[in-house]
Subunit: 166 residues, 2 copies
Amino acid sequence: MKDVDYMSVIEDSINKIKEGAFLTVKSGNALNTMTIGWATFGVVWSKPIMMVAVRSSRHTFGIIEAAKDFTVTVPAGDMHKETAYCGSKSGRNVDKFKMCNLETTDSRQVASPIIKTRGRHYECKIIYKSAMDPAHLDKDYDSSLYPKKDYHTLYFGEILACYETD
Amino acid sequence: MKDVDYMSVIEDSINKIKEGAFLTVKSGNALNTMTIGWATFGVVWSKPIMMVAVRSSRHTFGIIEAAKDFTVTVPAGDMHKETAYCGSKSGRNVDKFKMCNLETTDSRQVASPIIKTRGRHYECKIIYKSAMDPAHLDKDYDSSLYPKKDYHTLYFGEILACYETD
């Protein structure tokens, strides 16, 4: 395990997240992972921040709404099969970990575990969240991205740890 | 003027914005610039996004609330004097452009101009905005950053242009 300066890997992470990364959340006994393709990185509230978005229709939504933290695992190898599965199936109906042969490993600083795979891992504490208000969204984006009106909630995580595993 | 791939300069821009950058907004005849120290970059709604934050107490707030776009100018040279002034004085009371000898130049794609200085410039169309709800903010951050309860509104700008000037 090698600690990484989160600033130095932003470009690489965004490019890889576009191809699919794992957002993993645990609250109490509830645990799920889902695929994300969007994220932003930077500084807000004078803290290193990673922002992720979860639609209200997602099984993960119910878990992250009750959670204090989340992790993001950016695979180093080809995991397109797994991210496609975890992005299209719901944790309500299937055990994604079992179906994709994914295991989790305890995080260092947060309750949500990371996915046990070669790659880069972010441990984030949720310090702010905001349910999207369609009244303030560009109309073109509203109609194209939200035909079912299942808007995203934006989760702003303070990056407590960023590291890579082999 | 040289176009730049916004992805390749995220780390550099965040580091420089921490030292102070100019957020410039024009709506109708109203124009102002203010200093920002925070920003995030990435992909949301499948678009290249830069997020900036403006407190409700700011003169710029009234302008950006009515605006369709904003620009960010990240100075290449030492402009600490100018960013300190534009971050502490209000456009309600002073003409920041005159006092700091700052000029603007027309943008290529948006109504808000850029600051005419050597540096990197972002032209952003506001596609979503969200006024912060303190109910969803970590209590420690609420008390330390918002003693006056003048919360930020978060502006998500689609990056339409990113370029550097000498």
